[in-house]
Symmetry: C2
Subunit: 276 residues, 2 copies
């Protein structure tokens, strides 16, 4: 029988209190093959040491979170420099995908913010391509459009990616951000047909939402998302990469990490794997 | 010089503490020609009395809020009966548009909820048409998809409306719900070309959001929405109806109503009217 967890990845944000080493050790001990890293945990360990820790435990890095925040009016050069550093880190870590969170609307000019984003992505593409890192454009839920990401749909992410090679710019399918989209099935298929699905991230949409929407992401099965249906779309689109569990949630963060990992494995096996 | 407020309407939710009579009197005294009514305030006054109060003050009813909540698994007949009552009330009040909030996802089956919604709208259309009331489908912000409205975009609302005559089913353009949509300009144009813009409702998107997203709607100018740009789209689409200010916001509700009305008038004159 094949390994049910052969594509399951723990995003370090899900077990937020753990250091990078703790997260890597627990992920390997739990029999998972991959881990998604956030830059803050990588920075604490140091990039080279982080890469060695991951390598020594035989894990893949499914993605590095995150670059982006490219919509500012006056800090463009600073943002580009930071994104180049993020690309370097991804290359050192062997992370094939750098998750890009676009950035919000600094004034009231949403089209202007989107135009700056497109220009700055174009500036980063050659740098990323030289290092074999793909920029993974992540549509965030529209409730984050003002302060965090002016990319709100998969269709829009694909349009932004279109001018660039599929090996250099992809899109992220994150259930929390896109489950509501009436065009979801078509856009996931489009993303697959274009060879641009960089990452499949999962977590649930809780009802009611948490007071801070950022931490309203729930464990699969605790909310309203149909993981079977969305996973089937992603599978039909030809995605063969890792499935990363990324949960921002105070209650999950207050739970002992190994317990979180076990819950995540069983929910994945029951709700996601059958459709994969 | 023409009257700057000739198309401005107060939605009773904006001055929540007022009775219907208080809202009508203040609206008329402020020189506005129209009012948008919620059914709770109408019920308190009684429908016939409410209609007489509005008529006696020479106001138009720009819309009645709200019908809908048509996605339930087991309460379909009850919901349809309530919607027929809402249509009757709109007819009695002389409200040409009944705002329809779709309803959420009662289980995990979003396509199922949308299918029930489409079926039940089809059932209501003849009843509404006989009474000269248009069903105004309102896309709500995607953050309300789970618990309140499975219509999340203007494009989706237009698709739902398409099988029915434009005189019977329209769509609502509410800045709070749709400002983030990357397809906004095209969809507003589509809605206008189809003769389906039922209502233009305005309020701002605040940053940060309120802990309860329902009451995170702000006075125009207090958030990130470009009212000039969106109003210009609506005007270019040929919309010639009222502009209704509908704000759910604890601070606005705590402010004396006449002060709210004056602020609303001056913000409208400065930020909306020039593009209308």
């Amino acid at each position: 029988m094949s390994d049910p967890y052969a594509r399951l990845s723990l995003n370090t944000m899900t077990t937020k209190s753990w250091t990078l080493r703790e997260a890597v050790e627990a992920t390997a001990a739990a029999g998972l093959p991959a881990i998604g890293l956030w830059r803050d945990r990588v920075a604490e360990a140091g990039v080279d040491d982080a890469a060695k820790i991951v390598r020594d435990h035989g894990l893949r890095v499914s993605s590095l979170c995150r670059g982006g925040f490219l919509t500012g009016l006056h800090d463009g050069d600073t943002a580009l420099a930071d994104n180049r550093r993020a690309i370097d880190e991804a290359a050192t870590l062997g992370a094939p995908e750098l998750i890009m969170v676009a950035g919000g609307v600094p004034d009231r000019d949403l089209p202007g913010a989107r135009a700056r984003l497109a220009d700055r992505i174009a500036e980063l593409v050659p740098y990323a391509a030289q290092r074999d890192v793909r920029l993974a454009l992540e549509p965030l839920h529209p409730m984050f459009c003002a302060d965090r990401a002016v990319i709100s749909t998969l269709g829009q992410a694909l349009e932004l990616a279109a001018p660039h090679p599929a090996e250099s710019v992809g899109v992220v399918v994150d259930t929390f951000h896109i489950w509501w989209d009436p065009e979801l099935a078509q856009r996931v298929a489009d993303a697959g047909a274009a060879g641009r699905i960089s990452s499949y991230q999962i977590c649930d949409w809780l009802v009611p939402m948490a007071a801070d929407p950022l931490v309203s992401r729930g464990m699969m099965g605790d909310g309203v998302i149909d993981f079977g249906a969305i996973t089937a779309m992603v599978a039909a689109a030809g995605y063969a990469g890792d499935v990363e569990v990324e949960i921002f949630n105070e209650a999950v963060w207050a739970t002992e990490g190994h317990t979180v990992l076990e819950t995540m494995k069983s929910r994945y096996r029951d709700m996601v794997l059958p459709a994969l």
